[in-house]
């Protein structure tokens, strides 16, 4: 009886007794969730357009942040550094298409997944070799102060990240639905061979997709790098973005945002109110369990494409 009370009633009373704190937790959760969405977007883009689960997305976030910071440290002004980084990520997309995707065209998904794992190791070593393994401060002019609004502490950096994520999602959603290239991308995701047969240039599409994913990686890298400094552990963020991905659906851009919001708030509320009951630090698995619970109801994620099974 005591146990039930402790699990079901206690935390809820806790939540309701301090509404401003609850609001802070919710806002914090939203902000964290949107930062996860930024990373999840990269996964979604590549999966949507080429059916490849890009294991190396986390390392691409790290690599782009390293390049940006590395250039800035050498005295390149911010805007030019940003432009050069975008150029580097586009060049990387070309290289990946040529070296990884073209020889493995039409292989099973798990083979392509493994190829991105090889890419992961390669980029890790390359990034560290070129830019060094120290922690680097990332300062692109985004302030990291907090201010109080109606008694709730709000962090400027997180709000900027949230806004960036929202804008990116809106732009990408329009891109996929309204433009010619967006349609072509969706066609390629559906069936490579069919798309080829109607004349869609597969290679160009893949380069475009991986470049866009690279740019999204830069955005994610900037936000997370500003938060914790640019260093190797940035690539581990991908693990936190995976529950967002499975909850929202692998192929849905708005799903990444909604998934991020749900996971972010769920995680924080779980940790703050239920965590102390079991000793804390439940954030990691709580997010996955939450995603799992949703999956049991909708096995393809909230907004994912319905998997039509045929005999």
């Amino acid at each position: 009886m005591d146990l039930l009370y402790g699990v079901l009633v206690g935390p809820v009373r806790d939540m309701l007794s301090a509404p401003t704190f609850l609001a802070e937790v919710l806002i914090g959760g939203v902000a964290a969730g949107l930062m996860y969405s930024l990373v999840a977007l990269g996964f979604v883009l590549i999966f949507k357009a080429s059916g490849v689960f890009n294991f190396s997305q986390g390392v691409m976030v790290l690599f782009s942040a390293l390049t940006l910071v590395g250039l800035m440290e050498r005295g390149v002004p911010v805007v030019l550094a940003l432009g050069l980084t975008i150029a580097v990520m586009v060049a990387l997309a070309f290289a990946i298409e040529r070296v990884v995707l073209r020889p493995l065209v039409n292989q099973e998904h798990i083979i392509l997944f493994m190829a991105t794992i090889g890419l992961n190791f390669f980029l890790e070593g390359l990034g560290e070799m070129v830019w060094g393994a120290n922690v680097k401060k990332l300062d692109v002019g985004i302030p990291d102060e907090s201010f109080k609004m109606a008694g709730i502490l709000i962090n400027k950096l997180e709000m900027t990240a949230a806004a960036t994520a929202a804008i990116l999602v809106a732009v990408l959603a329009v891109f996929f639905q309204r433009t010619k290239i967006g349609r072509a991308l969706r066609a390629v995701a559906d069936d490579h061979e069919a798309a080829l047969s109607i004349g869609i240039p597969l290679r160009t599409i893949w380069v475009v997709v991986w470049s866009v994913a690279g740019i999204v990686a830069i955005a994610a890298g900037i936000m997370w790098g500003a938060k914790s400094g640019v260093q190797f552990s940035l690539s581990l963020i991908a693990l936190k973005a995976l529950p967002v991905l499975i909850l929202g659906g692998f192929t849905s851009v708005p799903g990444a945002i909604v998934g991020g919001l749900i996971i972010g708030t769920g995680e924080k509320i779980g940790e703050v109110y239920w965590g102390p009951l079991v000793g804390g630090a439940i954030e990691n698995w709580f997010a996955y369990v939450l995603a799992l619970a949703f999956l049991l109801v909708r096995p393809q994620g909230l907004f994912g494409e319905r998997i039509i099974e045929r005999v």
């Binding site: 964290a32 560290e128 393994a133 950096l157 552990s233 954030e283």
Partner: protein
């Protein structure tokens, strides 16, 4: 098709070449110390200055003094990326090279635990300075493992003493709120039993908050901290958790001079991302920071000016760099002590162990070595492999770390009994017997 045949041929070639790897080279009139380092990977920001300190001090001794009493030091690095399995592989590969390793600084609690059972079998001393298995400070059970100058439990008690001093007396601690934010691993949990014991004795409210590895997202933890509104915060972190913790502390409006990290959570790398917001952040330490000491001049003169410096010139004097320079000094002084008894020739593992156990570093000796003000005098005994080290609190002022407290003695009366009980338990697992120190004088 051709590619496949080529691949098969290459694989066959690789398999035949592999056994010839790792050929050992014998050297005479030298002593070998393997260096387990992590210059790449997630923990590289801490691993790089640590590795450089060792390199530079050993190079200094070889260059300026021709080694220790004429016997040169040979050292070889092995990169293990802070991964326990790779660390064990490094150790196994290096331990018989260059005439046999004498002493190793594992620089990772995980690897230390792996090597502790091997130490008496391979006859290699383990020096886990300020980390590792705290229970091994009881030298009666663990003759081959040393953790001087201080252990985590003593550090926690020193932290509480400092807080008491700041509050105006240990009796003023009653009713105060202290939060311990720790890395959710055995390392992070080390300080908890001591803190809980002291909370019971002194009456302060202790809250323990765990941060899951790797600790990149700590919002939930710091929201809880804000709700608690504690008087003091103690952080036992490692890797990216440190940088994020400092940033979050500042972002959530904590008074930075009431936030104190342990000695692995107070380095330059930890405050860099937070920038100006980290000003006022404090941490524990057992040595002084900065490059204003005589030994640094010597290192610059004999090592850097000759182009053999391991680090960037500005990195000389960083917290972790100093720490390993001091650790290297302690190792070499132990060897010198051993030579005093066994003669000026290359030593064996047993002899180095004796030297470590009978190390007596006085103020005068420290001054001779150029460590005056940087390190503290130290006395190691057979029972006490922790030595009589003391701690201090340093503060980051935006540009560098500065010591802002006196040297604090840990509460040995609280720590030692628990340590001895833990030692009995850990030694039983390994099937050790206790030795009688009085018989070994």
């Amino acid at each position: 098709m051709k590619a496949r045949i080529l691949t098969i041929a290459l694989l066959a070639l690789a398999l035949t070449l592999a056994p010839w790897a790792g050929v050992a080279l014998a050297q005479d009139k030298t002593m070998f110390i393997p260096l387990l380092v992590y210059r790449t990977g997630a923990y590289a920001p801490s691993g790089i200055p640590s590795a450089n300190g060792f390199n530079d001090y050993f190079n200094l001794l070889n260059d300026r003094d021709g080694g220790i009493n004429g016997v040169k030091l040979v050292f070889e690095e092995c990169e293990f990326q802070y991964d326990t399995k790779q660390g064990v592989e490094c150790f196994e590969r290096l331990k018989s090279k260059h005439g046999g390793a004498l002493l190793v600084n594992p620089f990772s609690t995980g690897v230390t635990y792996q090597l502790i059972p091997k130490a008496p079998v391979d006859k290699i001393v383990i020096h886990s300075a300020g980390y590792g298995m705290t229970a091994s400070a009881d030298g009666r059970w663990f003759p081959w493992v040393f953790n001087f100058p201080m252990t985590y439990w003593s550090q926690a008690s020193a932290f509480v003493k400092y807080v008491g001093q700041q509050e105006g007396g240990m009796d003023k601690l009653k009713g105060k709120k202290i939060v311990h934010i720790y890395h959710n691993s055995p390392y992070g949990k080390e300080a908890n039993p001591t803190l809980e014991e002291l909370a019971r004795r002194l009456g302060f409210e202790l809250t323990l908050l765990a941060v899951d590895h790797p600790g990149q997202e700590q919002k939930a933890t710091w929201l809880q901290v804000r709700r608690l509104n504690p008087d003091w915060i103690y952080i036992s972190g490692w890797g990216v958790m440190n940088q994020v913790a400092v940033k979050e502390a500042a972002a959530h409006g904590m008074k930075m001079d009431h936030v104190i990290g342990n000695w692995w959570t107070g380095t330059e790398a930890d405050v860099v991302p937070a920038g100006d917001a980290a000003k006022g952040y404090k941490s524990m330490t057992f040595h002084a920071p900065g490059a204003a000491f005589k030994v640094h001049e010597e290192i610059v003169k004999h090592v850097y000016d000759k182009g053999k410096g391991a680090a960037k010139r500005e990195a000389v004097g960083e917290v972790l760099y100093n720490r390993t320079v001091i650790t290297a000094m302690l190792n070499t002084e132990a060897m010198r002590t051993a030579m005093g008894k066994f003669g000026n020739k290359p030593l064996t593992g047993e002899q180095v162990r004796w030297g470590m156990e009978n190390l007596n570093l006085t103020d005068q000796r420290l001054e001779q070595l150029g460590f005056k003000g940087l390190a503290r005098p130290l006395r190691v005994t057979c029972e006490n492999h922790e030595g009589n080290g003391v701690a201090a609190v340093q503060q980051w002022d935006g540009k560098q770390w500065k010591i802002v407290s006196d040297w604090i003695e840990p509460m040995r009366d609280v720590v030692r009994p628990k340590l001895e009980a833990a030692a009995v338990e850990e030694a039983k697992k390994l099937g050790y017997t206790m030795r009688d120190c009085s018989k070994e004088k």
